[in-house]
């Protein structure tokens, strides 16, 4: 087990380097002058800017040399300057990462709650109307385009009924709490401002639900399959023969036995959440990495796009690593391939 973990950790730097390399190749993908990937059109006529950029990224040198310079710059945390915000990309990303994380984590909580609940219900009441409804609900979530669902729910709940707030992270009229974690809900609690906390939570509900629903299907499908298997095992009969109630049989005996694969699928669903966050943030004007990436892509802001891609890849890599290692630790008898 230790060997497996060490091997995985050892592979990490190489994978990160692979991500960076692929991202670098993307910058060379752009048609024509690679300068367009670094300098915005408006600055193209400014010879000093161009000269500075060329020197910084070694643009007049060969591809391998440029690669070395690029990686060198990255190591020092330099991802270039965004055309749109005119700030360092690394700084922009760092500033926006917490908002995305807050959304994704909230979505993960909602998605896994819905997914597990539906999976358990579907398995317990298999082949009944409950099962069919649960499966349909889950399938719907993974089939609907999140950007459309977001629009529709905003329209219904915010415009039509006015139950939930509109886009954004919080009411602009409320005072912004001091940034400590970058998670608005947690910062508000730390600042002791209950009103901001509730408002932030209120704003979080809809986007997190939209995003969470999209992964609930995958989770519920897996939970259902595992629950079906476990519910057919003999120790379930033992539990019933002991006089345990159905709630206890399902939650304490059956569900606990499906915990490891469930946690694993939740971990892996992180990738979908990151992907979905890009679009959800756009719809809900959520000031996170996703909406940053979209505005960068729309404005052909290459340093920003590449920066977000690298950070997204690394975040994804780390969560998958954690998930895999957690799986091995929780399940010491698993056979490692």
């Amino acid at each position: 087990m230790t060997r497996y973990i060490l091997r995985r950790l050892f592979a990490m730097p190489f994978l990160v380097l692979g991500i960076v390399t692929l991202a670098f190749l993307l910058t060379t993908l752009t048609k024509g002058d690679p300068l367009t990937a670094i300098v915005s059109e408006r600055q193209m006529n400014d010879p000093t800017v161009i000269a500075a950029a060329k020197a910084r990224w070694g643009l007049d040198r060969s591809l391998p040399e440029r690669y070395v310079i690029y990686v060198g710059n990255l190591v020092t945390g330099d991802m270039g300057t965004s055309f749109i915000t005119r700030r360092a990309v690394a700084q922009d990303i760092l500033f926006r990462l917490p908002a995305t994380m807050e959304l994704v984590i909230a979505a993960m909580i909602i998605g896994s709650t819905i997914g597990i609940a539906l999976g358990v219900l579907a398995a317990y009441f298999r082949n009944t109307a409950t099962d069919h409804f649960a499966r349909l609900f889950a399938l719907f979530g993974s089939s609907v385009p999140v950007f459309w669902l977001g629009l529709a729910l905003l329209f219904v709940f915010s415009v039509k009924f006015g139950i939930l707030p509109g886009p954004g992270r919080m009411d602009a009229r409320l005072p912004l709490p001091d940034e400590i974690t970058g998670f608005l809900t947690i910062d508000a609690l730390l600042a002791g401002d209950l009103r901001v906390f509730i408002d932030a939570l209120w704003h979080l509900i809809l986007p997190a639900f939209v995003l969470g629903w999209s992964v609930a299907g995958t989770i519920s499908r897996l939970v259902r399959a595992n629950m079906l298997e476990v519910l057919g095992r003999e120790f379930i009969l033992t539990a019933r023969a002991k006089g345990a109630g159905e709630m206890r049989v399902v939650l304490r005996h059956a569900l606990r036995n499906t915990l490891v694969p469930t946690l694993t699928v939740i971990g892996y669903s992180f990738a979908y959440l990151l992907t979905g966050a890009i679009l959800t943030e756009t719809i809900f004007s959520w000031p996170g990495m996703g909406s940053y990436a979209v505005s960068a892509a729309r404005g052909l802001d290459f340093p920003a796009i590449i920066g977000v891609t690298i950070v997204g890849g690394v975040v994804f890599l780390i969560t998958n690593l954690i998930t895999d290692i957690a799986y091995v630790i929780a399940n010491p008898r698993v056979k490692l391939g």
Partner: protein
Amino acid sequence: MNHTETGVPLFEVKDLRVSFGRSETQLEAVRGISLTVNNGEVLGIVGESGSGKSIGMLAALGLQPETATVSGSVRFKGKELVGLSRRELRKLRGSRVAMIFQDPLSSLNPVMTIGAQITEALQLHNDQLSNKAALERAEELLKLVAIPQPDRRLSQYPHEFSGGMRQRVMIAMAVANDPDLLIADEPTTALDVTVQAQIMEVLADLQERLNLGLILITHDLGVLAGHADRVAVVYAGQIVEQASIDDLFAAPSHPYTRGLIASIPDMTADRERLFSIEGMPPALGRLPVGCAFHPRCPMCQEVCRTTAPLFRGNQKHEAACHFAELAEGGR
């Protein structure tokens, strides 16, 4: 607690039927079983796998799969169990009536410690029991089934136990609340031969000490020898012969019973091959007309193909065969 005095048997099953599926395609797995167990009595139920012996006993306690329909009457200390509310059944299960199952490998929850599983059995039927007291009682129980180092064993998981040890744990868990009736469904089938004997020893010892009514379900008539008081032989969802164990071995009246006796592995004799009854038990829904056993019966006659036999004999020894007496005589 002795109900025989008042004439009410401990456990009385009358015409129990279990069927699966919707009405058009209903398949009967148990087709009218009747039996009685008195206090402190050991009843063996023997039959091939799929004969309905296990499912019948599960259904008696309301543990049948949801797709099953149960009819007939099951009385425990005079109380009707068929149609009893789930809550009432739960109160009974694990406290007054306990069960152990065939495969100790899979009948314990792999993610809970042994201690947690035994204390759960205790606390489910006693809200007042503190965790500490429950653990102490669990340790006692492990001692009762002769598991060494019980205090250390409590915090271990099932995969750290051998098959025989796990079955001991199952037994300990079953007798945790001092039940009146224990139903053991093939308790030794999945175990090695040497371990089988030990487990039977433990069961017999506890049965005597706790004055348990015990139902031993098995496919191996040999297991019952020396342990059961009476035996019911089940074939295709029905009892075909019922007698005291001595009478059964001395004068088996049903050809199926004779086949079962002949197929007991004989340690002393030097037989090349075990005798086995030819053919397969009928599949559910493919029951032959007449006597269910007739396609496999060595003495099948015309009447067996058309008419289902009724019980012959008396309360002490009865068999459902057209030729029950003949069988007895022709032995």
